[in-house]
Symmetry: D2
Subunit: 335 residues, 4 copies
Amino acid sequence: MARYDFASDNVAGAAPEVMAALARHNAGFEPSYGADSAAARAGDLIRALLDVDADVWFTASGTAANALTLAALVAPHEAVIAHEYAHIATDETGAPGFFGAGVGIIGLPGASGRIEAAALANALNKPEEPHWQSPAALSITQATEFGAVYAEQDLAALIAPAKAAGLKVHVDGARMANAAAAGFDPRAVGRLGADIIVLGGTKAGGSPTEAIVLIDPGARRRFGARLKHSGQLISKARFLAAPWIGLLEDGAWTRHAAHANTMARRLAAAMPFPLRHPVEANGVFVEMDEAQLGRLHAAGWFVYRFIDGSVRFMCSWATTTEAVDEIAETLKAAR
Amino acid sequence: MARYDFASDNVAGAAPEVMAALARHNAGFEPSYGADSAAARAGDLIRALLDVDADVWFTASGTAANALTLAALVAPHEAVIAHEYAHIATDETGAPGFFGAGVGIIGLPGASGRIEAAALANALNKPEEPHWQSPAALSITQATEFGAVYAEQDLAALIAPAKAAGLKVHVDGARMANAAAAGFDPRAVGRLGADIIVLGGTKAGGSPTEAIVLIDPGARRRFGARLKHSGQLISKARFLAAPWIGLLEDGAWTRHAAHANTMARRLAAAMPFPLRHPVEANGVFVEMDEAQLGRLHAAGWFVYRFIDGSVRFMCSWATTTEAVDEIAETLKAAR
Amino acid sequence: MARYDFASDNVAGAAPEVMAALARHNAGFEPSYGADSAAARAGDLIRALLDVDADVWFTASGTAANALTLAALVAPHEAVIAHEYAHIATDETGAPGFFGAGVGIIGLPGASGRIEAAALANALNKPEEPHWQSPAALSITQATEFGAVYAEQDLAALIAPAKAAGLKVHVDGARMANAAAAGFDPRAVGRLGADIIVLGGTKAGGSPTEAIVLIDPGARRRFGARLKHSGQLISKARFLAAPWIGLLEDGAWTRHAAHANTMARRLAAAMPFPLRHPVEANGVFVEMDEAQLGRLHAAGWFVYRFIDGSVRFMCSWATTTEAVDEIAETLKAAR
Amino acid sequence: MARYDFASDNVAGAAPEVMAALARHNAGFEPSYGADSAAARAGDLIRALLDVDADVWFTASGTAANALTLAALVAPHEAVIAHEYAHIATDETGAPGFFGAGVGIIGLPGASGRIEAAALANALNKPEEPHWQSPAALSITQATEFGAVYAEQDLAALIAPAKAAGLKVHVDGARMANAAAAGFDPRAVGRLGADIIVLGGTKAGGSPTEAIVLIDPGARRRFGARLKHSGQLISKARFLAAPWIGLLEDGAWTRHAAHANTMARRLAAAMPFPLRHPVEANGVFVEMDEAQLGRLHAAGWFVYRFIDGSVRFMCSWATTTEAVDEIAETLKAAR
């Protein structure tokens, strides 16, 4: 039977703290659609984690969380600036265009998923014309799609000019826990002026849940109706809030991410193939040819060739040292 | 503290069979986005329940399940025929228009949420013109928004002329379990020619999950991409499939609905206010004035005044006889 | 051969002043997409006519002009309040929902197409909920679909509470010329606080052109891109601007509308069928049964049975007294 | 005063044959929304020109004609294959995404705007996944954005594999007249299996009008409603049909395009800057640096730096030999 341990960080189940919270908050009757007590508590924990004044909502899909918050920041005839390999640009089947009624994405280059400041400056300086979609928001992914982590000053160097040009700032924090475990202060994004943060719960050990953190006052307006209108307001909403209580009440969110990062470093240390990107979070990206990847697949381990041509190994809260050591052995044989 | 027992059928948690299935399927690594083993098993159980050849997908929101399947059946410049008080027409914040890029809804009258055959005939006979949206699908809700249950021959009398006119048929089965528990054969909808069935899990005792049952071959095409594009493809998808295993493997889906229906009949029997609709499923709709409703609210019981002006009491798998008897006493005092 | 003289006010060609302006502005090379000299001149004439500080753009379709300006004022999960028989609600094939990504319309009653102030107050007082689309704009049609003309104080009684509730105000002025010819001051709408006015050129004797008058500063932002994005930025744009010069430079816009209104009154005076609505602009709406309408059609005159069941006779700049007298004779025979 | 003669082929007015046809068809009353006699006649002329069995409709905007026909061929979660520099990909402000509810575009390389057959084969072979938008249509531009003209066998080499893979074929023929004048048989596109052709009238000497030629039977369904829904059904539609009668009845469409092509060759022959693309239609693309372009602008001639970095000079029916010779002199001085 194929093993998916390293195929993604969403192939793991939910962490024990999450399952316990689900069971705990399953009892009794609760108002639906987000007015439940778990939602209130989870919102408080998230505001504290990020140190922001914000409305907090939950969705079951990170793609939806990204796409609908971008639609809240940008008009259909405008565009979002993002890394050319950002999840919203390459891996969401055009969802931002759907939620945003044809909103555009301006993809910028940059090593390991970090946007180059010079490329951003160019994009901001392009004159406005009716013939193309001018940017109205900057979307930043932390940690990046390639397992890199922006330093706070690197983020500041992107956010400051974007805000100065009148853009809103969106943070795709699907793997913010891994960034936090790597030393990044999650309060930095709010401090630097982010308008909306999508905070990842699913990959951090949650059952399906992502938090939408609305800092921008304009974006908060009638957001419940926006969610419902776009099919994202869940009736038994406590199932999306409770996992956050399990993740944040005793630090599991960061603790599990730290474990995932450690596993990635362990795999990187044993890796017989050249690393394509620095291993700063929970992913290891290496250079393998088709024959080598074929041998790994034949040995029963499923992993993906990624957008940039590298092969991706993702670790999660559930990754074991045994699995790391076992795949490392297989990789050596596959070389 | 306010009591929400009768506010809706989504104020209950998940049933024990569901929580057990979630725990059981949480173990180990599984492919994401619907390729997990729970999805395969749940799909088989649903195909057997409905006796259809179909692709089965899952969403966390019934609104999304309805809206995106309607968008799969109807072009943006066309319309869906539905009861004027159908959930898609009155309670989904325009979601069908969002998913369908401005798709229209033609609302028809009919007692207790059942569409009148004569009104349907009128709508089907209206000549086509570029100036309005002509119908391309019929959407039927079973059980209806007002707790009524279509008999099979009543459905046949709607579906047959719709199919003859070239329309597709969509079934909103958010409360199909309650209809089944009331004696309706869930295999009837496929037999009569339904093209897509949305089968309710959440209100039947599930954690958030609705099954999308695609019978129409054309609608199956690239449906995974359609889900992802519209923010409805969940990464840890086993959390949407496992509840169905808990609900269907040992008959909990019907058993819990039968309990809910029984509770509704018990409440109806004790009800001191005039019933507005026949009590055939799990809802009781009564005539109360504002003062009477105010006294009920003041006594701590929260229920809604509904679209048709009646006051709605919903029962679920979790409703207790004690609660029914208790609210009945309060209602007598509130009269 | 069928005669269409009274079928609509768009069955006429363009008035001589318009054809002359088209010919005059056809000469030479001009920048495209609205930067032409005709656009500048036409914009000035329209700003003067309405006495507003505004950006002015042109579209070839009144449906598009309405739908895209509503989309500029209202978010997809919000709604527009309009008369239940407004063109946007009944005769635009769902275009507002398309341009507005599922934006809703709240239809209000009122005699002869004028919105009732009490109904508006009710709509404004409805509490906000995630489950329905709350209003963000009021759309008013002047003259109304039924040939009535709002008095300025009647408009004030609608616009003032809407603005006080935070709504934007949209004016569908497809037949503003007829209202102006009936004594309504076209400067009143801006004075009362309209945010966007769609000013009708086509029905006023133009070739296809409607003016979009953007008063609201927020709505002006990147409007050229909004037009292009929604397929409404015409390359040889001088063809949409020049007609306005023909219509406004010497008063043809009002003069032709006054003629159309006079023709309507002449027809009303000779009409053997009961009038359904007051004849204040260029339309005559009467009560005829199917047999009577059939006899009129059989006599070669094509007119429509309208949304409210009445039969509509529209006059335009091109309607002749001979045609009025001729159809009046036929109507007497058809009775 | 700046001269725009070469800025685009839409800076010219309408040709005399078009103005005469507009005047001729302006007389009398005609049914609106496309049921006029000019529409019937223009449709016949276009069907004959292209030798196809097709429904023919008209829009005032080429962007709209492209975007809405792509939306008729492709579902929102699918994509259109086009040249990476096709007008739909680079110059329509995201309109295909708006009309297509987030439809994707897959841009392929190829010299001078012609798609490379090998790149198409790659795109067709990419496996389908829910995570990206798989292609459902191929869009071809004839003549290309860079003034090149596909030979019939080159088109066959693209269309045949696309059709074999189940894709629909869309032709952006905004400059089909120039291709025809260059020797391309306009009947070839239908013969090769095109499903929808957008035939350019505006750039061929028309007032604003593009013909939508629907060959695919499925795409014809309720197309009038599709147009109205998307704000593209013009009321006084004779103004969009009549120009085609002027253009096609006596061959003006090809004759004017031949003149434009001749002017382009004359300019190319006198051009002191290196040509970037072959001059096969009515455009001349050259390599100029910023200083050189600045000197040309300073001399009063406005032209654009184009998407590929070249500077574009477009000729039209109205371009004079005097203007060509004059700008050629200026260009020599600007070198």
